[in-house]
């Protein structure tokens, strides 16, 4: 009789804990042993004893937190197996950002997969999500409502280029999170044939440099935070979403504010973000992808964490699988 993961994988204060392995996954406070799915701040925190993650994720953590971000770091390649106690750990691509991974755990004859954050569509900056068959699938639910259908990226990137044509005297200022979204937007612009230099807010520089160093081509990138900004006209500039409408953006004259995020699907959210040009570009699975993934991993039971759980649980149950909410605190809705 295989040992159901509910006996060895639990949500406790601090995060998801695997008892027989003695480790947490993406803990929200410093712990002795941690597996980290990806480099976003609410998943990868500093101060743990021992951290296992992909080499890319560890490199990201080092850029963000400095060299001593953990006492000991262990790099795991996708597909490589690691034993901790009675538990076998394996990382598989999650398609979310560079280095992002799902955590595959095997113990007592059963297998649980923790998706971390993930998406299913093409991203030039990271390998695609690999479905792994399992007994329990733990999924995120950031966009767990049927109103979230991310349109094809191509159309969203075309909007950016059209705005540049329509407003030849204005820059297009794209607010995008500095890890993942920023580099993906740049890579998508390059694929659409845009070869002019792209300008960056200072907060984006270090991680773009890291992406390039780790083999993701981003073309010519120039700093936007320079003394002579008069030369930056009708260009594409990227900054953190919070910099839109802040004093910093005034240096760019009267830019067309764009925001790249899955939340831009909702008009009220786009207006709150002061976006004139909302770009629905998301690094999370949309509604159909969440349901598709539950089918692909073919788990009889799905645990749903951070996001809009109730609707996703309802829909998964309708498809004949068990589903329940796994209350984890500390993860943000941001992307």
């Amino acid at each position: 009789m295989p040992l159901h993961p509910q006996h060895w994988l639990k949500a406790i204060p601090g995060g998801l804990y695997c008892e027989p392995g003695g480790f947490f996954i993406d803990p929200s406070r410093p712990v002795d042993r941690a597996i980290v799915t990806h480099g976003h701040g609410d998943h990868a925190r500093s101060g743990h004893g021992k951290v296992a993650a992909t080499a890319d994720t560890l490199a990201i953590m080092e850029v963000r937190y400095g060299e001593g971000f953990a006492r000991e770091a262990q790099a795991l390649a996708y597909g490589e197996r690691l034993a901790m106690g009675d538990v076998t750990i394996m990382l598989e691509p999650a398609g979310h950002i560079l280095g992002s991974a799902q955590v595959v755990l095997e113990h007592g004859g059963s297998r649980a997969v923790i998706s971390g954050d993930y998406k299913r569509r093409f991203d030039p900056t990271c390998p695609p999500f690999t479905p792994v068959k399992c007994d329990v699938f733990i999924t995120e639910a950031t966009f767990g409502l049927p109103v979230f259908h991310h349109p094809p990226d191509k159309g969203e990137i075309a909007k950016v280029l059209h705005a540049r044509d329509l407003f030849p005297d204005r820059n297009v200022l794209i607010g995008a999170y500095s890890l993942g979204k920023c580099q993906r937007v740049i890579a998508l612009l390059r694929r659409a044939g845009y070869d002019r230099p792209i300008y960056l807010h200072g907060a984006h520089q270090a991680l773009c440099d890291l992406y390039v160093a780790r083999g993701v081509a981003l073309g010519t990138l120039l700093p936007a935070t320079v003394a002579d900004t008069a030369k930056i006209r009708n260009e594409i500039v990227l900054c953190p979403p919070s910099a839109i409408g802040e004093v910093w953006s005034r240096r760019l004259g009267d830019p067309v504010p764009a925001v790249a995020s899955g939340w831009m699907r909702i008009r009220a959210r786009a207006r709150q973000a002061r976006a004139e040009l909302p770009l629905v570009i998301s690094d999370h699975a949309d509604w159909d992808e969440l349901l598709q993934t539950a089918r692909d991993v073919d788990a009889p039971e799905v645990w749903v964490t951070h996001g809009r759980e109730e609707a996703l649980i309802h829909a998964i149950e309708q498809s004949g699988r068990k589903a329940r909410a796994l209350s984890l605190v500390g993860y943000e809705d941001e992307e």
């Binding site: 409502l145 049927p146 109103v147 979230f148 259908h149 349109p151 329509l166 407003f167 699907r265 909702i266 008009r267 009220a268 959210r269 786009a270 207006r271 709150q272 976006a275 004139e276 040009l277 909302p278 809009r308 109730e310 609707a311 309802h314 829909a315 309708q318």
Partner: protein, 534 residues
Amino acid sequence: MQLFADLLDALSYQPARNGKLRLIEDYLRHAPDPDRGYALAALCGELDLPSLKPASLREMTVARVDPELFGWSYDYVGDLAETIALIWPTPDLASHVPPRLSEVVERLRLAGRAEAMMLMAGWLDGLDATGRWALLKLAAGALRVGVSARLAKTALSAIGTVSLDEIEELWPQHEPPYAELIRWITGGEKPAARNTLGFRPLMLSHPLDESELGALACHDFCAEWKWDGIRVQIAAGAGEVRLYSRAGEEISGAFPDLIEQIDFEAVLDGELLVAKRIDGEVEVAPFNDLQQRLNRKKPSAALLLSNPAHVRLYDALIIGHDDLRPLPLRERRQHLEAWYAQRPRPRFDLSPLIQFSDWSELARLRADARSSGIEGLMLKRWESPYIAGRVKGHWFKWKRDALTIDAVLMYAQRGHGKRSSFYSDFTFGCWRPMIDDNGAPGRELVPVGKAYSGFTDEELKKLDRWVRNNTVERFGPVRVLAPALVAEFEFDSVHESTRHKSGLALRFPRFHRIRWDKPANEADEVETLKKLIS
């Protein structure tokens, strides 16, 4: 439809007037005929489509999606059209042809409700999320993308060589999709003017910046009261009469009592009021009485008797066959007075000129003016010709100061649109005496009004947090608040009303200051408000 949908989408996010202009121009340059004509009509609010009931749209949607999922989604999104647009199951787009805007308008115009719903379902299947949203907005009748008819016409003027004034003058003689007009504007021949009763764009005023008053010479200006009615233009001649609102919308049908008295040939500018002549004196009723008339497209005989319409004239554009618009106001006024003196009409009078010798005297008059029907003062330059639009430096409105009251926040609801995640709609109340269950005298709060504006974004965030921390009960979307936060509210006037528990209704209430410091028991009493009834 897709081009139009993209336009509406972009407009809805574009805050700047110039940006909106650029978007509409871009659309008008690229969209085919007759679609662009219908698009203009939609932007100008001149499409008359059968209105689809939100309940039927909802019903149509839950026939296709899980009602429970729909419920959660609507709750999250907060806007019905947007929820439907996003949740509508996308069929294989390749097998559906998206409709053209002209097809949507032409078929919807002739369709009954049931047929309209069928058509809508078919079209929704052929559009993407943005297209579906635009279609639903169009069918709902109100686009709410922050574009005035004037702005749309300005964009139309910009793509051709015809001035806005010329367009506006001919516009009312044409119907969507304005084929002749568009042909003319884009280089074709000018359509013949069919009659002279078209709407002529009004001359508009700017709010007065009091600090600039010193720079204006007071003898260059005439002063009139700013009447609290609605601005109208009367165009009459050859046995026909048109009454237009300030935006050029014809409202003749709602005012037969006025129309039957018009036997002259002129184009006049004035304020529509509800007023009675009592012993020859015109007594203006509160704006509420006019509101009742405006709400009825066909007024009952009783309403005509109880709320008679009246026009207080202040300018003449044309008298007989003479176009007076190029003349200075001084001369236009003389023409108007002479014309009126020939034969005064009971439902008309002239807006009197206020005598004053300097600005401070005028300021005193303004401060003392509290009677019903007066919103403040108008200052008009004697030398100004009648110029269409809001031209700087000619006409100024000098509104009287608002009234204020300290009231307690009682209920909060989340806003819509930009504020759909914030508690931004507040019901506030004042104290009144009561006898409690034990027979002891006490005080209770009764609601006196609702306010949605007047706070900064920063204050809105603080209010929202306060609401979340001080909710004592919930009724659906409404939160009942602990009676602990006082705000000072501004409003233009108070009227008696049978619709509210307090027996009062405030005109245009808005937040003035949030009194985080003031204890609720120090808020004002209903009695205080009653004394302000105009």
